[in-house]
């Protein structure tokens, strides 16, 4: 579980995150939703420790990010996996090498064991046939799978995904969403996903945090989101004509 308490972050005097408090639950897919530019990526990068917050506290299973030494931060990082918006695969390395990379760089394991674990992770995301290919030879959905395999190969306690289905067709997007949810349950990970996709919200929104202009405007589940009276939420949820029509029938 990750608890966020009064998080504040600004860049060049612009307040991007304004006093965010919430918690992300273990074994569930936690969604951060909001318009483009609402601060979702900045929030995830704060959770990862890539940005240091101006104020507030982040508590990882009882361990606060305050007064953490550099060594403790490094250890905590090793328990985190991240799927970037554009996958961020190393383009000079094959699929297998990409997935092996964290093990090779950070563990003292034997090469055979590294290969075995990487192959297991690749199998888990159902990419076994593509393991010798380069990222540029893969479709967007396959690249996302490699990114997921690379993120879970170190058995992380925390998994972060920045818009994991951006740029994918709706069908592939749902497959990727479901894959992330299955992995979350299987390994009991605390998973935090950025999204602005209503399909994801309906499919995997077990816990939803809605950001608007850097403020947490609403939080709840995908069951509650359709019945809330919160104006910003209904504007966001029913932004498409299709859903507006659907709403009339509800």
């Amino acid at each position: 579980m990750i608890e966020v308490k009064g998080l504040v972050k600004s860049f060049d005097g612009n307040m991007i995150l304004n006093n965010i408090s919430t918690e992300f639950v273990q074994g569930k897919t936690n969604l951060i939703i909001g318009q483009s530019g609402s601060g979702k990526t900045v929030l995830i990068k704060c959770l990862l420790g890539l940005h240091s917050p101006d104020d507030g506290e982040i508590v990882y299973d009882g361990v606060s990010n305050r007064n953490m030494t550099q060594a403790e931060k490094t250890l905590l990082r090793r328990e985190m996996g991240m799927v970037f918006q554009g996958s961020a695969l190393f383009d000079s390395m094959s699929v297998l090498e990409n997935v092996m990379f964290p093990l090779k760089m950070l563990t003292k394991k034997h090469n055979d064991e590294i290969v075995q674990r990487a192959v297991d992770a690749i199998k888990r995301v159902e990419l076994k046939k593509a393991k010798e290919k380069l990222p540029s030879e893969l479709s967007g959905g396959m690249q996302k799978r490699v990114a997921i395999a690379r993120a879970i190969v170190m058995n992380p306690k925390y998994l972060f995904c920045d818009e994991p289905n951006s740029g994918l067709d709706p069908k592939t997007a749902i497959v990727i969403d479901n894959l992330i949810q299955e992995i979350t349950k299987e390994y009991n990970i605390t998973t935090v996903i950025n999204s602005h996709d209503m399909n994801s919200v309906m499919e995997i929104g077990e816990k939803i945090v809605f950001l608007e202009n850097g403020i947490k405007n609403w939080e709840g589940t995908n069951k509650e989101i359709f019945s809330t009276k919160n104006k910003s939420i209904t504007d966001f949820v029913y932004s498409s004509e299709l859903l507006k029509k659907v709403k009339k029938f509800l």
Partner: protein, 244 residues
Amino acid sequence: MFYLNDIGRYFIMIRMSFFKPCKWKVLKKLIFKEINDLIIESIPIVSILSFFIGAVISIQTALNLSNPFLSKSLIGFATRQSVILEFAPTFMSIIMAGKVGSYITSSIGTMRVTEQIDALEVMGINPLNYLVFPKIIALLFYPFVITIAMFTAIFGGFLAMTFAGVPSEAFITGIQMDFEPYHVFYSYIKTILFAIILATVPAYHGYYMKGGALEVGKASTSSFVWTSIIIIVVNFIITQLLLS
């Protein structure tokens, strides 16, 4: 103020690339790869350019020494001096700012804009050590490239003069005339400084860039401009300090 900020960040970048090193096994591999990409693969173009420039230097010198009372060996002497003092270290480094520099900026810049550098950081790897340190080490072999440039340029001059009918003994006497080891020392001091500039200034431009694919192109251009300006200015300062 703006530039001071950049200068500070540049030196911090160099310092940070030596900290929190990756495993030696990994670094060794990266260093060998960079030696291949930055040093070995530069040798063909450096040789071709040096050969022809050396030839042109000797032809132009010969043109200016048409007085029959002046010894033909002066052509060899002048060619050697301009090649060792200026042409091989400085001129070649400007060429390399285009070849090696834009490669470094665009490869690191692409990794920045596609979040590969963030991915390294998330894994707890020091991206500067992983990306910049091996390039600095590889470019310590840069004097080797410049040595090749010196030899091929003088050889180019020699061949051009042989074709033009200058007796080869005269040219060779010229090459050996009044040899000053201190000039070679000065030349290699410059070369090592240029090597460090060639590795770090383009790396800085790539590492701290913002934006997308279009900005990678712009960063490569400004990296070339800055690398060559810095090389020329450092060349002036070193020459003031060591030769005047």
